[in-house]
């Protein structure tokens, strides 16, 4: 491209800022910041639906057979639909869009110093497909027979034949929605990787990229490499449901275990796909609020590579009791327990970062620290489940349920709140109310533990998952166990109540909060060097990067932070 052409293009680009009308700015945007908001808001609305479902089925478990206030009676089929869609929504329509698509879109261009994603129109298409997928999923709750109830793993033959699932169109729309959602993230993922590879600011080397960006990109790479088999599986499941093929039906020569392999080959990397962005965001937050350099930047990065690589060879630990060869199970026990080593190393790096720092307990920091604590419990209980001998007893019990909620709740909900409270000043140009933020934090974190810690004990007592009324099981219908269920449900209601404070704080701060300076947290990365909120096109001039993102409390400097784009002093 000649210099002249480049100048003309720039002029068009500059003029364009004024021309954006409401439709092009908010409904059909190509600006990565607006697309990010669309993802985050859609994800938050879906989180409300998922939380409402959790409320309905927890109430049924605590008070079986009674009318649930604001819901009605929960029947057995409806109970299955609620738990299935709670899981599906929370993973695919909350964790993925908010943490990866939402914050990925928002922070990647800002943190690597470029004006937008490299494929902005692909980005817009990605959100539009995502929105359609969310609508298809919501539609599936209202078709004849109700929403799909075969669990979020949707094992055939329960999911593949309407005579077993009793939700003819519900299950098909569920598969369709999930497949559409993957296509959407596929487009987004291509964008994220290409942008980070090709559009970094001058001077930003591989090892100057903030960990948050690195981890989102790694998560996307894992996703891209693992999603193909699930899309293939979803197509086969859809064909089984609608046009009478028998890929997963043993009576027709198919193999139901095949689905489990295709699903978990994606499903286990998926755990790390949602985990890595939160780990990255937490790494950025704890360095800022501990005013200390990240301990072992390279170690943290390489352990993430190791985790990602290992995550592809652990999937069969979900199938220890599905009838796989015990010799194969042994191999998967080894790989599963191995994967805890890089993650433990990463945790130690984070703790070492905190050690000796001058920690400020601002709201984002509280969320980040609580993530480390809660995720530790989730990780440690996972080691028990990874051993096939123990898993035979624990499989599909509430122990498993409590374990993965101790991983997914910190990842999704705590990670989301950490990211929102941290980047809120940048996104909306206003500060969030600290007091309300702290009340909301304690009002979420304490009830969260009250919900899920007791469930470990229910699981050890032998309580199986996916049962809508334990009164039918004399061993499990005792008063002590019922008391634990009521306690967990009551904690859930308390936690949901405290979310109202967050919603209030979020909207009031957005419009009436204190004006935010460019760099309220005194952080180093590039997004804090521009106005809050950033204008269309982000940077007036492309920033030049001189150092890594974690130079806090550098010796011999007056300021305890050192922005990445500040030129070194000439001596």
């Amino acid at each position: 491209m000649s210099q002249e052409a480049a100048t003309v293009q720039t002029d068009i680009h500059e003029e364009h800022h004024e021309e954006l009308n409401f439709l092009h700015k908010y409904i059909l945007p190509t600006d990565h910041k607006i697309i990010a908001m669309q993802y985050i808001f859609t994800g938050m609305i879906m989180a409300i639906i998922g939380g409402y479902f959790a409320y309905a089925f927890r109430m049924q478990l605590a008070f079986p057979g009674e009318l649930v206030p604001f819901y009605g009676l929960v029947g057995p089929g409806e109970y299955n639909m609620l738990v299935t869609n709670h899981g599906t929504i929370m993973i695919f329509w909350v964790a993925m869009p908010v943490l990866i698509a939402g914050f990925g879109n928002y922070i990647i261009p800002l943190m690597i110093g470029c004006d937008d994603m490299v494929f902005p129109r692909l980005n817009r298409l990605s959100y539009q497909i995502f929105l359609v997928s969310a609508l298809v999923l919501i539609l599936s709750f209202f078709v004849k027979g109700g929403g799909f109830g075969g669990a979020w793993t949707s094992y055939p033959p329960l999911s593949s034949a309407a005579e077993y699932s009793l939700t003819d169109w519900g299950s098909s729309l569920w598969v369709l929605a999930v497949a559409l959602e993957f296509v959407s993230f596929l487009l987004g993922g291509i964008n994220f990787i290409t942008t980070t590879m090709n559009a970094r600011a001058p001077g930003m080397k591989m090892m100057d990229i903030p960990i948050a960006v690195w981890f989102i990109v790694l998560a996307v790479i894992l996703f891209m490499a693992s999603v193909g088999p699930l899309i293939a599986g979803a197509v086969m499941l859809f064909m089984d449901q609608r046009i009478g093929t028998t890929f997963f039906l043993p009576s027709g020569g198919g193999d139901p275990l095949l689905w489990q392999h295709l699903f978990w080959f994606f499903g286990h990397p998926e755990v790390y796909v949602v985990l890595l962005p939160t780990l990255g965001i937490v790494a950025d937050i704890i360095t800022v609020f501990a005013r200390k350099k990240l301990f072992g930047y390279r170690t943290v990065l390489y352990t993430a590579f190791a985790t990602g690589g290992l995550s592809f060879v652990v999937w069969a630990h979900h199938q220890f009791i599905a009838g796989i060869d015990p010799r194969m199970a042994n191999v998967f026990v080894v790989t599963t327990v191995l994967i805890s080593i890089p993650l433990a190393e990463m945790m130690f790096s984070y703790i070492a970062t905190l050690y000796g720092g001058s920690i400020e307990f601002k709201t984002p920091m509280l969320w980040a620290l609580s993530f480390l604590a809660a995720f530790l419990i989730g990780g440690v209980t996972g080691i028990y489940l990874g051993a096939s001998a123990l898993d035979v007893y624990f499989h599909d019990s509430y122990f498993v349920l409590a374990h993965f909620h101790y991983t997914f709740f910190p990842i999704t909900i705590i990670g989301m709140f950490a990211a929102i409270t941290y980047w809120f000043p940048k996104m909306f140009g206003r500060m969030m109310n600290e007091t309300l933020g702290k009340i909301h934090f304690w009002g979420t974190f304490i009830p969260f533990n009250c919900i899920f810690l007791p469930l470990f004990f229910l699981g050890l007592a032998g309580q199986h998952r996916r049962i809508y009324n334990y009164n039918h099981f004399p061993d499990l219908a005792t008063q002590e166990l019922q008391d634990i269920r009521v306690f967990a449900t009551a904690s859930l209601v308390v936690m949901l109540f405290f979310q109202l404070i967050f919603i209030y704080n979020f909207f009031v701060s957005m419009f009436k909060g204190e004006k935010a300076p460019n760099n309220p947290w005194k952080a180093n990365s590039l997004e804090w060097s521009i106005p809050s909120p950033p204008p269309h096109g982000n940077f007036k001039t492309l920033p030049t990067v001189y150092r890594g993102p974690y130079e806090y409390s550098a010796p011999g400097r007056d300021l305890d932070y050192w922005p990445q784009n500040e030129p070194p002093e000439k001596s």
Partner: protein, 208 residues
């Protein structure tokens, strides 16, 4: 974005090089190519899953193809395979011409390559009609289901690739809103992928 882009239709980019600014180090591989290569990884995994599904289900059955199901036309499809491979070679030839800036000649060979791809598609469709008449349908057996799943998945890729290639062919060397050879290249990579996957599927489904 109203900025006219030199990149292809699908992979439009906003590469705005602002004057009097620190310049980004030019990356060795263009955005379009990186994006397409990442997409190819996902596609490869997709086909790998289909192939493994085929092998798992087949290993679980004693008789293959199942009793009463028609055999697949090996010879006609071998001819189709040659057509598709020739199309891939011509695509490479047109790429070589375009790189030497011989736009018109390159466009001509690109057109012939697209034509051969279309013949492949029509011939395969004709084969499907005959197989259905012989009683091989998606629900007649898991054998038929797998055949239509795998060959159909490839067929959809051929249709998609041909559609974007025809679109690009139309814009190559056009006076208004033309596409550059560099912008075309990611689409050609997609075609190479479609061509290279086919022999694997042919050997798996038809020959073994």
């Amino acid at each position: 974005m109203k900025t006219t882009s030199s990149q292809s239709v699908l992979l439009a980019t906003t590469e705005v090089s602002l004057p009097r600014q620190p310049q980004r180090t030019k990356s060795p591989v263009s955005n379009g190519i990186v994006g397409m290569l990442i997409f190819m990884v996902t596609e490869a995994m997709f086909f790998a899953a289909l192939i493994s599904a085929y092998m798992v289900i087949r290993a679980g059955l004693d008789e293959w193809p199942p009793w009463g199901q028609p055999r697949l036309p090996v010879e006609t499809t071998a001819f189709n395979t040659l057509l598709l491979l020739a199309s891939g070679l011509l695509m490479a030839y047109s790429r070589a011409l375009l790189q030497k800036n011989k736009i018109l000649e390159g466009r001509q060979w690109l057109g012939i390559s697209i034509l051969l791809g279309t013949f492949f598609l029509i011939s395969q469709g004709n084969e499907w009609v005959q197989l259905i008449n012989f009683g091989l349908t998606v629900s007649s057996s898991v054998y038929g289901g797998l055949f239509y799943l795998i060959i159909g998945a490839h067929g959809f890729h051929v249709i998609g690739a041909l559609t974007v290639l025809i679109f690009a062919w139309n814009r190559l060397g056009a006076s208004r809103n033309p596409i550059t050879p560099e912008g075309l290249f990611p689409l050609q990579i997609f075609w190479y992928f479609v061509v290279c996957v086919w022999p694997v599927l042919y050997v798996l489904v038809y020959l073994t």
